[in-house]
């Protein structure tokens, strides 16, 4: 599982924004904003980490329960799938 090629994640004026570049501009026009957790997960997905690895990393980084973390990851991944951003 990996974020598709060409998306650039940057922090701008305190917000995490994702902008498409290259071929990605043909599939996605516009801008995505992510909250801090979203940006954290996005970076892991850009490296091709599995959902199990996402869970481990999230539990290590944030003070949260496994159930809550799992639910958050599920929601995030569903959103990315709907937007056709992962392959």
């Amino acid at each position: 599982m990996r974020i598709k090629e060409g998306y650039l994640l940057r922090e701008v004026a305190g917000s995490h924004v994702v902008v498409p570049t290259g071929k990605a501009t043909l599939d996605f026009t516009g801008v995505i904003t992510l909250n801090e957790t979203g940006a954290f997960l996005w970076k892991l997905l850009a490296d091709g980490k599995t959902s199990k690895e996402l869970l481990g990393a999230l539990l290590e980084e944030y003070d949260t329960t496994e159930a809550k973390a799992k639910a958050d990851i599920d929601i995030f991944l569903t959103k990315l799938e709907v937007a056709d951003l992962i392959e």
Binding site: L8, R10, E11, V12, A13, G14, S15, V17, V19, P20, T21, G22, T25, G30, V31, T33
Partner: protein, 239 residues
């Protein structure tokens, strides 16, 4: 050679539009150019074949305008899709999707304050550059359909995103909302990740220095007054 946005630009023009629009930007200054815009006639001819709705002349104007926008990113600058006015050595940018009324609103500023006080810096795509600590707005010959531009350099005061509405209302945007709109209306170097990164860095700096507003407006002097007073932090007085 041309002097555009403070840069020495080497560009050969053959079409009437670009030659005429570029006239005020011509310079006799010699030496190394800061930027070379080199798009061959073959490239333009090819584009025209694929998109015959524009003539060669128009394609030259469009192509070279985009080339300038992209290369400007190598010089701490970018172009924003906006109508830019200058008043009292301060520049205000009105941005919005095509057809919203950027030019109309800019024109109202001229009517309200007088053409001697308000100058249209660029009616479609002003250039912005970070020089030292300050962001400056420049006119370029790429001003869209109206040919309204001036070869001047004015410090940026505010950016205002416009939306047509029955009632006038203005509010300052949060950084999060402002950044989305600024990215959307910037001329983006879609095929160059490094330049896209440079654009986002410039927008980050812009947001640290410049207030960004959203203005719901109708076509009236009241809209001008509301925008002006808000940007200049004046209380509105009832006449």
């Amino acid at each position: 050679m041309y002097k555009i946005a403070g840069l020495k630009v080497k560009m050969e023009c053959s079409g009437e539009t670009l030659l005429a629009q570029g006239e005020p930007y011509r310079t006799a200054v010699a030496g190394q150019p800061d930027m070379i815009i080199d798009i061959s006639d073959e490239t333009l001819a090819k584009t025209k074949e694929s998109y015959p709705q524009f003539c060669f002349d128009e394609w030259e104007y469009i192509h070279k305008g985009f080339a300038f926008s992209y290369k400007l990113l190598e010089h701490s600058g970018f172009c924003l899709h906006a109508s830019a006015v200058a008043m009292g050595n301060k520049a205000v940018l009105f941005s919005a999707p095509c057809g919203t009324g950027k030019s109309t609103h800019a024109g109202l500023w001229q009517q309200y304050f007088g053409k001697d006080k308000v100058v249209i810096i660029n009616d479609d795509r002003p250039a912005l550059r970070l020089l030292g600590d300050e962001i400056y707005v420049y006119g370029t010959q790429w001003s869209g359909k109206t040919n309204l531009n001036a070869n001047i350099k004015v410090p940026l005061q505010a950016v205002v995103f416009l939306k047509q509405a029955g009632e006038n209302h203005i509010e300052r945007l949060t950084n999060k909302e402002a950044i989305k709109r600024l990215i959307r209306h910037s001329i983006r170097p879609n095929h160059d990740k490094g330049k896209m990164d440079a654009l986002l860095t410039l927008l980050d700096t812009l947001l640290q220095k410049t207030p960004v507003y959203h203005l719901d407006c109708n076509i009236s002097m009241d809209a001008v007054k509301l925008a002006y007073d808000t940007i200049n932090k004046r209380m509105r007085c009832i006449i």
